[in-house]
């Protein structure tokens, strides 16, 4: 009994510094956001309790549009990330010479400072001098220059593509690792039975990949929903707010206009969505791992 008690104390001693840190830097601010969202906090000296006013304001403005836009933006970004990531993983999984090098070459977007990659995309999207518009013109696909970040619809997709570019390496390497965890004897058995490469992929790789696919899409969903740097550096939410997602809108309200209270209400809404995603993620992953052990 005594031994167990000292073990418990030891375990908590080890955990305490990390727990305290996260409580002060994450949990307390979370609580503070919640409280702030019911006040009119701003640069003014005094702060008043205003009840639900900030939330009512949110739904009186175009925020519903922002919410929908955020979901559409996130959906396409995650979907494209998964498609390109799985495609890349399949290619890199092939036993061809040079694959070690190809794997290394996949990593840069994930590893270099995000802002730098975004600057490079910003230049590529430039209408007059950028690569994409330039090359498309040289190939005769488009007639005149297109400034991708200057028009709402193209800016929307441009920010998605850049977000995809930054997220793809992680998805690729994760899916690659999942593919390599598939037992080799399954393939060999199928091969002995005369199954072709495509058949093996469809009937062995793909079904065994589905848990990883679900896990990764949900992780990617949470990360993408939070995406800030890309849109902020490329368009700051413009033109005409066509790339304003919930995070960008919150930042603008809170830090740009210094309306802390209204910003906090928006942040609370984001937290609610994120918590739903997170709960779903835990549910799904625990069910997946339960299914695994039952098999």
């Amino acid at each position: 009994m005594n031994v167990q008690r000292s073990t418990l104390i030891f375990a908590w001693m080890l955990l305490l510094p990390a727990v305290l840190y996260v409580v002060v830097i994450v949990a307390y601010p979370l609580l503070d956001t919640f409280i702030l969202s019911f006040t009119d906090a701003s640069l003014k000296k005094t702060t008043n309790w205003v009840g639900w006013v900030n939330y009512e304001k949110i739904f009186n403005t175009t925020f519903a549009e922002v919410i929908i836009r955020t979901f559409v933006w996130t959906f396409f970004s995650v979907a494209i990330k998964m498609i390109i990531g799985v495609f890349g993983a399949c290619m890199l999984n092939a036993a061809v010479p040079g694959r070690a090098l190809f794997r290394v070459l996949t990593m840069p977007p994930w590893i270099v400072p995000m802002a730098i990659g975004i600057f490079m995309w910003g230049w590529m999207y430039n209408g007059q001098f950028g690569m994409i518009s330039g090359v498309l013109q040289n190939w005769g696909i488009i007639d005149g220059p297109i400034a991708f970040l200057a028009h709402g619809s193209t800016a929307f997709w441009a920010t998605i593509i850049t977000d995809v570019w930054i997220g793809v390496p992680l998805v690729t390497l994760y899916m690659l690792a999942a593919m390599q965890a598939v037992p080799q004897d399954l393939y060999e058995a199928a091969w002995t039975d005369g199954a072709g490469r495509f058949y093996r992929f469809r009937r062995i790789t793909l079904p065994l990949l589905i848990p990883s696919l679900i896990t990764m899409s949900m992780l990617s969903l949470i990360a993408t929903f939070n995406s800030f740097d890309i849109i902020w550096i490329l368009t700051q939410g413009g033109p005409n707010g066509e790339t304003t997602t919930m995070i960008i809108d919150t930042y603008r309200t809170a830090i740009g206009s210094k309306k802390y209270g209204e910003g906090a209400a928006r942040a609370v809404l984001i937290c609610i969505f994120l918590s739903i995603f997170c709960l779903a993620y835990f549910r799904v992953t625990s069910r997946l791992s339960a299914g695994e052990s039952n098999r």
């Binding site: 979370l30 390109i84 495609f87 092939a94 061809v96 794997r103 290394v104 001098f129 060999e188 091969w191």
Partner: protein, 286 residues
């Protein structure tokens, strides 16, 4: 793994061609911005702003790599700041995470699963969501416009994945080692310091590398919001110095970007084995 490619892995010529074509397509998407960025850094500014678009630089030179230090004299300082912040962040994360991961890997007690879940849940919030209270908190601590304004929040968001990675690694260390030490009369703390830590060193190294890279890559929002002093700016925010009032000095911006990227690239080439294993350790169920 095997010296000879197994029969199953033999490709017909058209399969090989399509695989390489696929890889080429994929890597073009991944690397295009870097290639374009590098070519831009070689072009003189006048040539950059001329249509029609030319992919290859005519009379290109490395001049921008020299002039970038003159246009923005603080650039070396920005790189130093980025390194300094990342190193301190990594050190703090390790101090917090190594004992915590050991506790999660070895001891189960009431609420330990829930606590681990709570740590992982931190991952779902980006700094952007908590920016307002964090700003107030940093102001209360009196660290706005110092290195700590970027270090303190940075650490918190790197803790979850570090704990997850290191816990996975430590669970693979046989329990018998702890028990043997315990039978010999070693205290818990002694066991951790003298038995577990030396064995866990490779895992700790991986966590240190991924944390450093994460911190180096993600310095933006806190630096943008909590610090306005030029002398403390890290690279990503410092690069905005190349955005002049009239126009952006694109060739120098790209040259500076490549100089700033170099450390990350060096890390990739020398430590990529650790990175991939680090990334995938928590990812795939063993």
């Amino acid at each position: 793994m095997s010296t000879q490619p197994a029969m199953i892995n033999r490709y017909r010529w058209y399969e090989l061609v399509s695989i390489y074509a696929g890889i080429f397509l994929f890597l073009t998407f991944i690397l295009a911005p870097f290639i374009e960025g590098f070519l831009v850094s070689l072009k003189p500014l006048g040539l950059l702003f001329s249509s029609p678009y030319k992919f290859w630089p005519e009379n290109g030179s490395f001049a921008a790599y020299r002039t970038m230090w003159i246009s923005v004299p603080g650039f070396a300082r920005y790189i130093f700041n980025s390194f300094f912040i990342s190193i301190i962040v990594t050190a703090i994360v390790l101090v917090l995470v190594v004992p915590a991961s050991y506790a999660f890997a070895r001891f189960t007690f009431r609420g330990s699963g829930l606590l681990l879940g709570a740590f992982l849940a931190v991952n779902m919030f980006s700094g952007a969501v908590l920016l307002i209270p964090l700003f107030r908190l940093m102001r209360t601590f009196g660290v706005l416009n110092t290195y700590f304004a970027m270090i303190v929040p940075g650490v918190a968001f790197l803790i979850p994945s570090a704990i997850w990675l290191l816990r996975t690694y430590m669970m693979r260390i046989p329990r018998e080692l702890d028990e043997a030490a315990f039978v010999d009369g070693a205290s818990h703390f002694y066991t951790l310091r003298r038995v577990i830590l030396p064995i866990a060193m490779p895992g700790i190294t991986v966590v240190a590398i991924t944390t450093f890279i994460g911190s180096y890559a993600q310095q933006f929002i806190f630096a943008l919001t909590f610090n306005s002093k030029t002398e403390y700016m890290p690279l990503p925010v410092g690069l905005f110095a190349y955005f002049g009032r009239q126009e952006v000095i694109w060739n120098e911006l790209m040259a500076a970007s490549f100089v700033g990227i170099t450390p990350a690239i060096i890390v990739i080439f020398f430590l990529q084995r650790y990175l991939v294993s680090g990334l995938t350790a928590g990812a795939v169920k063993q």
